[in-house]
Amino acid sequence: MNEVTAFWVLAAISVTGALVAVRKRNLVHGVFALLVFFAGLAGLFLLLLAEFIAVVQILVYAGAVGILILFAIMLTDRVTGKDAFRVTSRGSFWGTIIALAVFLVILLPTIREIPLVENATPKDMIVEQSSVKELGTNLIKPYIVTIEVLALLLTAALIGAVTAAQGGRASEKEENAE
């Protein structure tokens, strides 16, 4: 019973956080709602006994991504927006319709009561099997090439991000120097 209560509370927190983040006019408030969403999702991961993923979620999303988005908002204009200024885009009506339609299509199997997975009960043995050590062993053994590719991707992305973010100004400086 406790688990069910925790699920509903965490689900309410993350759905509210996501809705506020998407709907808020003030972008800084939106980012804080987004952090609440990330924290709620980390709680759900804990509930599913994926404790390492929950920790990574807090570290990467609530930590790094949140701060990064906050900086991007501060570096660009219009944090709150003028009151006369529309927040929504021109096609927002059709956007809402499409989002609802996608939601209904995703839920079709539930509505038509198609059984999703044959044995839909969590197994108790996971509790001691999902340790971080186990995860590390499983990560290194078959996926070592993938990790290396991922490291390369992260490096390339960060170099690309720095180049894209300062590219214009750097070339201007060079022209001025010449």
Binding site: L68, S89, I98, V102, A161
Partner: protein, 105 residues
């Protein structure tokens, strides 16, 4: 009442569609970017839920795939925000409706 797989799947569908709604209906590029983050997180929730309730949980495929997704999403956020800043420097705005240089007059 006990928790079943479909609770998590429906929650993930709701979160995904909230992200979709944000990506379709907002004008600010930063908001569109974090709507995409909400959608990616909903997908991660699905991975973990299927791992927990599916067959062979001892192989840890769900958490492993989620780890890779989180790493790629972090790279995506870094590049996306750098692009937003580059666009802002060029157009003096992050309003997606004002970025219509490619549109035919």
């Amino acid at each position: 009442m006990t928790l079943a797989l479909h609770h998590y799947l429906i929650l993930a569908a709701v979160l995904f569609c909230i992200g979709l709604l944000g990506a379709f209906s907002r004008r600010n590029a930063v908001v569109v970017l974090f709507s995409v983050e909400i959608m990616l997180n909903a997908a991660n929730l699905n991975f973990i839920a299927f791992w927990r309730f599916g067959a062979n949980p001892e192989l840890l495929h769900g958490p492993l795939f989620t780890l890779f997704t989180i790493a790629v999403a972090a790279a995506e956020v870094a590049v996306g925000l750098a692009l937003v800043i580059a666009v802002y420097r060029h157009f003096r705005s992050v309003d997606l409706e004002s970025l219509d240089t490619l549109k035919e007059e």
